[in-house]
Amino acid sequence: MGELPHRPGLHVSDGPGSPATINERFGVPEPLVRYSGGARGVAPKTHPFLRFCQDGLAMDPKHDALLEELRTRIAAATGDDELRAIERETTGKGGVVQGLLAEIPKLDPSERRAAGQGANELKQAILAELESARGALAQAAVEAERKGGDFDPTLPPPALERGSLHPVTSLTRRLEDLFESMGFQVLDGPEVELDFYNFEALNIPADHPARDMQDTFRCDPAGEKVLRTHTSPVQIRAMERLEPPIRAIAPGRVFRQETTDASHEHTFHQMEGLVVDRDISVGHLISTMKTLLREVLEVEPEIRLRPGYFPFVEPGFELDARCPFCAEGCSVCKGTTWIELLPCGMVHPNVLRAGGVDPEAYSGFAFGLGLSRLVMLHAGIDDVRHLLGGDLRFLEQF
């Protein structure tokens, strides 16, 4: 610690006879020339210049010589500091003018009036000279500033480091905001899920081949608890908790027991969507999916629905969107001009029943959007492992 132990402040002074001085912050700066105050018991000092003025007073009541002398000094001044010093020496407290005025009582009464007038005129003249000099100096400063000095437009500015949200978070928020604006509720569900919610209630009984489609992490040998393989369990949890009409989305992470490589990851993000109401139809699904894609792709989406098999919907679809990257087929759409974007369908009556909803009275649709995949498509990310890799060189780009 190189600094002094204490800084200027309100200190208790130890000088005899001198009470606590006012803190520098609030105090008045010491004048360069102090008019002989006497009161403080300090011997008055007389400035040589003042002496010069006093001497001249008798012979030149208009002080032309003095003024001429000051003009030369003012003209030579290169900064406001100097002007202020001159101002203090002349018109300030303890300055020349005050000194002159103090001499007046010593004069012959007949001379007093002229001397007083002369001193006042001198003061005004000095102030006018100073004012004009200040104006000239300020103008010169502006002119100098206008020249721009050694301006180098290519000098790098200081880096203002920023923070970032994960791209999956950003996309999730966009979608949450969109769906909330349409009256959807955003729900959350556990990542460690019971077999019942992840499979059974979704019309995927034990030994169903669809269980092979989703390589499942089991948390116990029997698989009573699993890491959820999709966000669909939230459908059941939503129906258990809420009464129709239900409109909900549920973003979150899901897990598949899969070896990772650039395009496969055992942990990724999905967003489930569920609408249950009277007379919900495929047309509602199409309309909602188009709204979703309009937000995500930022263009009027061209979509197609084709049959897709998922045990928890009937009928079930795969929704493809026209590839936004090409017209004739590219690596993203594998040459088909269509990108498989989201599985969806009409909620299977068994699933409605499992959620305590009467399939004769209500129908619904559900969809599952691959958030991780969408983020990758959007940003052109070619390796899914970047998403959960925790590498700042990746994260700080978003």
Partner: protein, 823 residues
């Protein structure tokens, strides 16, 4: 699954349908087509050549110099080493520039001084078989110069269908099933299939006993008079087209029939089957069988066996056994066509790690009426090839199966309300008939007969019929409808709001980077952090050893992400908001493990230089960030306290760790009672500290690292500051700087307490701006310099107030064993 268009055309007329159209229409109406490819496209570059002359190579015994007419003015001279090449043959010629399978490019060359302009190909070189003893002599008299594929009529397109999209369609696992869809889509006739077994001999039927209840039907047919050998070219080419390697007639035929009808079947060498006959039973513990792939399989009672007498001869539904397989000299066959329980086959094949074309089909719940049709089809195909073939006896047919065909009611209104109002009853009826459903109509209601091939699993409820209508009607023709409902905002979700606010503030104001880590934590990392022994949920089938545990907190992964980032960055600011799981609390929650929501922050920067300001440590900066995050949530200020050594997680500094407390209740404003305030119940919701030095060294982290954890569930319990504002002070504040020289063990908190006390309610703020210890304050002492603002609500403070404050402070300083420094 691969589908050959030429094969399809055996069942349905494909005239006028291009491969692209077919692929698109199957995708839109039936199942996802993943690929469309020409079968052996090089066969359109390889042409039919006529060997007009052959002579020995002058300098090589085994080489021939052939003159080959390929339909151009100038015949080609080709040097050929095949022993069977001869003048007069029609052969397959790969000309210079042609590319054969495995990227084999034909170039002009000189072989032992003789120029050769092309190659006369063997079957193997063309990817049409294993034959490589000689060149392929083309059958018949195909037109010279024509591409071989066209000349032999084997131009074919292969459609690859995504197996996953067929999971629910046992009827689509063969060409005939797909052909049935094609017929429905394009309104074409499905050609009839001759599946009548025909006359049978009068030998005694083979004894057959089905003991396992997982075999609902077992059909055994004896066949004699067979000559095994090479199967006909048409069959070989179709099998090749769908990626099957042709072997011998019996193997090819069995495969062909499976790929044609979707029903697996098996041919045993009849000689190897005991006169005791066939027994279908569960395997016994420890029993073994050598399957056709030459692997000895250890079985258990969950597997099912086909036995000859007591000896296992096949793994039911999965693979035949080596010992009973058909040989080159086999003339008598036993054909097995059976129905096995889908779940049972699936489990068994998963357990044995043996997935075959047969098991994949059985897993889908095959139609139990299909075995008889399959047997008839196979026998008829064989009879066409070898008219002398006979069925020895009437088939043995055992099992408890019953016809699964069923009848469903379908309401036209239901179709319109679920699908599209534009679908009328006539269209419904038309589509169902095209899909071979039986239909009776009564007004808008339909009684629909579902054939057995569709009813085993796929079509069992009304909605399944709606799907059938939708996919043929095409979903693209369904008009959009907007959702309509009462306008109501969704209910408030406090946790999500909080998470959003934290994320935004951390990434924005605090400039942290959000990271998402895996929910799995590596054992190695847990070990390094000294928390390996904590209870965690664990998966039994991890992707790799040592990554089976589910995190309790986001902190370990956050710390784990540090070393890699320090290779590239001097400063690392990370946060994560995520879930952790505490299994020990599962009981309280009815068996579901308790889920906790947490925000973790990590800030790492180069260690402060010697002589840096007292608050240069990352820990203190992180404290400021956390305080800001909490304030932004509208919560009261945090009370920080030292964390007991045993309370902090082991990866935190044993001393330099703090706990942040927030009050569980808020005192009503303006009702301050005199005397000591009632103690407020607090919740520890934050801990924050330096990374434990030993762990930092272990992680090779040489930096100033602070971490913090905010328990979101706890923060949610803290009442927000009540709304309101403090009036702008009417009277000016007086700023006073003071330095307290105190004993080293006196804390900043003590000093602050003294200042507050000395101010008697006038201290509006007190900011520590310097801490100094050294010569100027003397051994065992330190100087704490504060900038204090004094302000009163009701008057302007005078110099006297300042003087009184200083006098009081001086006395209090003395009480602390120190002094107020004067300048």
């Amino acid at each position: 699954m691969y589908i050959s268009m030429r094969w399809l055309a055996r069942h349905v007329d494909l005239d006028g349908i291009t491969p692209e159209e077919l692929a698109r229409d199957l995708t839109l109406s039936t199942a996802e087509v993943e690929g469309l490819e020409r079968f052996a496209p090089h066969l359109s570059d390889v042409v039919v050549g006529h060997v007009t002359h052959r002579e020995r190579h002058p300098d090589a015994d085994k080489l021939n110099i052939c003159t080959v007419d390929v339909g151009k003015d100038d015949p080609l001279q080709i040097v050929c080493g095949a022993p069977n090449v001869d003048a007069g043959q029609r052969v397959a010629v790969a000309q210079v520039g042609c590319v054969l399978p495995e990227d084999f490019k034909i170039k002009k060359s000189k072989i032992r001084g003789v120029e050769s302009r092309g190659m006369i190909c063997s079957e193997r070189e063309l990817g049409l078989g294993d034959e490589h003893d000689g060149i392929w002599v083309l059958p018949g008299e195909p037109a010279i110069g024509e591409p071989v594929a066209e000349a032999l009529g084997i131009v074919d397109w292969i459609i690859e269908i995504d197996n996953k999209s067929l999971t629910h369609r046992p009827d689509l696992w063969g060409h005939r099933g797909i052909a049935r869809e094609v017929a429905a889509i394009y309104r074409r006739e499905l050609r009839p299939l001759d599946s009548d077994l025909g006359p049978t001999g009068d030998a005694a039927p083979l004894p057959l006993r089905v003991e396992s209840d997982a075999c609902s039907r077992y059909l055994a047919v004896g066949i004699e008079g067979v000559t095994n050998g090479r199967s006909p070219d048409w069959m070989r080419n179709l099998l090749l087209a769908v990626g099957q390697r042709p072997l011998t007639l019996c193997v090819d035929l069995s495969n062909f029939v499976m790929l044609d009808l979707g029903q697996p079947n098996h041919l045993f060498d009849r000689r190897r089957i005991s006169p005791e006959g066939i027994v279908v039973r569960d395997a016994r513990e420890g029993e073994t069988l050598e399957t056709l792939d030459g692997v000895e399989r250890k079985l258990d009672p969950s597997d099912m066996l086909i036995c000859s007498g007591n000896a296992p001869v096949a793994l039911a539904g999965i693979m035949g056994g080596e010992a009973s397989s058909v040989q080159d000299d086999t003339t008598e066959l036993l054909l097995e066509v059976a129905s096995f329980d889908a779940a049972r086959v699936r489990r068994s094949s998963a357990r044995l790690g043996l997935r075959t074309d047969a098991s994949a089909r059985f897993e889908k719940s095959l139609d139990p009426t299909l075995p008889m049709e399959t047997a008839g089809h196979l026998v008829n195909l064989l009879r066409e090839l070898q008219p002398g073939v006979r069925v020895t006896a009437s088939p043995s047919d055992e099992g408890t199966w019953s016809d699964p065909a069923l009848t469903l009611e379908l309401r036209g209104e239901r179709v319109r309300s679920l699908l599209s109002p534009e679908i009328d009853d006539d269209e419904i009826e038309d589509i169902l008939r095209r899909l071979t459903f039986g239909v009776q109509r009564s007004g808008s209601n339909f009684t629909v007969d579902v054939p057995s091939r569709r009813s085993t699993k796929d079509v069992t409820i009304e909605q399944d019929l709606v799907e059938e209508i939708g996919r043929i009607h095409r979903y693209g023709n369904v008009p959009e409808r907007r959702l309509e409902a009462e306008l109501l905002p969704p209910p408030r979700d406090e946790r999500r709001r909080m998470v959003r606010s934290l994320e935004e503030r951390a990434a924005g104001a605090a400039r942290f980077h959000e990271v998402m880590s895996y929910s799995f934590v590596e054992d190695e990392l847990l070990g390094r952090l000294g928390i390996a022994d904590q209870e965690r949920i664990e998966v039994v089938n991890p992707v790799a050893e040592g990554v089976s545990k589910i995190r309790r907190s986001v902190m370990p992964s956050l710390i784990g992400a540090l070393p890699q980032n320090l290779h590239h960055r001097d400063e690392v600011r990370l946060f994560e908001i995520g879930k952790g799981y505490l299994p020990e609390l599962a009981e309280e929650e009815g068996g579901e493990p308790v889920e906790v929501h947490e925000m973790g922050l990590l800030w790492s920067a180069p260690k402060p230089k010697k002589g840096a300001s007292f608050d240069a440590a990352r820990r203190m900066h992180l404290q400021a960030v956390v305080a800001d995050l909490v304030a932004d949530l509208g919560l009261p200020p945090i009370r920080w306290a030292a964390c007991g050594e045993d309370e902090a997680p082991p990866y935190l500094h044993p001393v330099r760790t703090l706990v942040g407390y927030l009050p569980l209740s808020i005192q009503a404003p303006g009702k301050k009672k005199k005397g000591a305030p009632a103690p407020v119940e607090e919740l520890a919701v934050i801990w924050l500290g330096d990374l434990e030095p030993g762990i930092a060294r272990d992680l090779e982290v040489d930096a100033d690292v602070a971490v913090a954890s905010l328990l979101i569930d706890g923060l949610l319990e803290i009442p927000r500051r009540p709304p309101g504002y403090n009036p702008i002070p009417k009277f000016p504040a007086v700023k006073v700087d003071v330095a307290l020289a105190v004993p080293a063990e006196c804390s900043a908190g003590d000093a602050r307490g003294a200042i507050e006390k000395a101010g008697k309610g006038l201290v509006r703020s007190a900011r520590l701006f310097d801490v100094y210890s050294g010569e100027q304050v003397g051994e065992g002492r330190k100087s704490l310099a504060w900038s204090v603002e004094l302000q009163a609500q009701d008057r302007t403070l005078s110099d006297k107030d300042g003087a009184k404050f200083l006098d009081r402070l001086e006395r209090l300083c003395t009480d602390l064993g120190g002094e107020l420094r004067r300048s």
